[in-house]
Subunit: 335 residues, 2 copies
């Protein structure tokens, strides 16, 4: 039995390509004292990983060339020398793009498969769900009656933001990259409206029609020209949460755009960037709420599942191209 | 005796010119019941006035063609039919660019000439001082030990921001447009350092040298390339106050610049635009503090005084070009 791993082979120039990744096989490691061995079942691929491929200090260290790609997965403990994590326990953690991983239990979350399918620990009941929750309620300070605009509305985070906005009696307007996605978010997730940015010429006009009372909260996952069009529509006292700027991650030159800051004076608006980790002390409370809403059937997220660790690079590149509606996952099937 | 007034004659295209203003003479008005007549002594000219000359809805209505230019002045009540404002009272209010004005007392502040020279009601102890105070303490949340960067550091607001930062035990770094201004803010106002942007090629490098521990709070009056250079140096949790964007006010096309929002994610930083009016409920408390610091000699502001209402347009245009160190005033000398 071997451990198949995906390593960072080269730093991408612009959009990643196959040759930036390398599939290797290594022996399955043995847990030492206090450690346990996890067999991964589902891997999450997320936009933030693009940043970790660059050789640039950020909020976390970059992945080094030859290292296993960073990522969270859910798996089962199959061998344990740690009494707190007996064999058979389901766990999620930053195990990387590989089939097996060793852990000492630090920063590991136990997953109860009876509460929800284990894959939900990677979206609605995991990091994307928490990111949606804190971005909407803490950063955007969304209140009932607010008009909330969400970019990347059909993605893992945006799907949840819209549903949370509706649970909170907001108007939710989403932007996504296909008609199918727009149909999905409006018909299945409860968004009040939205538009396909790939077939819309005038974003400002589209937002103006969808937000006749202006925009009170803007949850931005995308950046670039779509986001530019929201700023003139901000209401006095509006809050903008910068969660992601996926339109910029593969830029090879410094992206330029219209200067937006003067809008903030007139509108007395606030823009705040955040990371989900900033709210770690409130994770437990938020997860309890998200779990309750999930169990009530008020919160869900479609999954796009790619099979096989060897296809994780492709799944990741498709994610960056917006192929996924909902959460992009990689089902790990050891040989 | 006539009332000389400056009217808005035309909406400027780009930088204002003489022909955008018109000097007229009208009879001095008579106060009606409940009203009083003010003879203006000092007029304030401020960057915000440039925005009011445009035909664009903003936080306030634009000045209409043929109307008296908007502005605050300090003057003396010389005729009164309002018992609360007897003859001889000094008052400040939005009396406009003219020598005499009628008021019913609404939104009028009484000025005590024994506390400080009356002109200070237009800077340290008035709107610019309050703008500095709330921007620094409420919006930037400046704490002792913070490194605070201020653009437009030698202007009416920036002069006060630096002194307040030093009173609050911050490091204060300022940017201004001449060597004399930099000498002034560092030698006389207590700024720890600064640079002349007109003779500096690499703003980023200049900030990096002056702020070796990064930037915790950024008080921006200017915008454009100077401000762009601050964003990469923001510390985690930094706060940016957008008070003005004077570099953009005369733009004839939509200004472009590097996209900055992704910096906010990594730095979990907040940008907030504000108007001093947002803090009106705290004016009294703030003015008491500013007055105490002024009387202790810890807070001052140089004045650049232009003589004669007929020269107000020139004074205003020179302000937009940065001719002033400290507060630009117009001394009003009725014939």
């Amino acid at each position: 039995m071997t451990n198949r791993q995906i390593l960072l082979a080269a730093r991408p120039k612009g959009f990643p390509q196959d040759s930036d990744f390398q599939l290797v096989e290594n022996p399955v490691p043995e847990p030492g004292d206090g450690q346990f061995l996890v067999q991964a079942e589902v891997l999450s691929v997320d936009p933030y990983m693009r940043g970790r491929m660059n050789d640039m200090a950020s909020y976390a260290q970059p992945v080094q060339i030859g290292e296993v790609m960073v990522g969270e997965s859910v798996g089962r403990v199959i061998q344990s020398r740690n009494a707190k994590f007996p064999e058979g326990t389901y766990v999620s953690g930053m195990f990387g793009w590989q089939e097996f991983a060793i852990s000492n239990g630090e920063s590991i979350r136990k997953i109860d498969p009876d509460v929800a399918p284990i894959s939900t620990a990677l979206h609605v009941l995991g990091m994307p769900g928490l990111t949606a929750y804190f971005g909407l309620f803490e950063v955007c300070q969304a209140k009932p009656g607010d008009t909330v605009v969400v970019t990347g509305a059909a993605g893992a985070v945006g799907s949840v933001v819209g549903q949370l906005a509706k649970i909170n009696d907001c108007q939710a307007v989403g932007v996504a990259g296909s008609d199918d996605k727009i149909n999905y978010i409006t018909n299945d997730l409860g968004y009040d409206g939205g538009f396909n940015y790939k077939t819309t010429d005038d974003y400002y006009k589209a937002f103006k029609q969808l937000c006749p009372d202006g925009v009170d909260a803007f949850y931005d996952n995308v950046g670039g020209p779509i986001s530019d069009a929201v700023f003139p529509l901000l209401n006095v006292g509006a809050r903008v949460a910068i969660c992601g700027q996926i339109s910029q991650y593969n830029a090879t030159e410094k992206p330029q755009g219209p200067r937006l800051l003067w809008h903030l004076i007139v509108k007395r608006a606030t823009i705040r960037g955040f990371l989900v980790f900033d709210f770690i002390s409130q994770y437990r409370e938020a997860l309890e709420k998200l779990t309750t809403w999930y169990q009530q059937g008020r919160l869900n997220c479609p999954e796009r599942v790619t099979e096989g660790i060897e296809n994780a690079p492709r799944a990741f590149m498709e994610l960056l191209q917006g192929a996924n509606t909902g959460k992009q996952l990689v089902k790990i099937c050891p040989e």
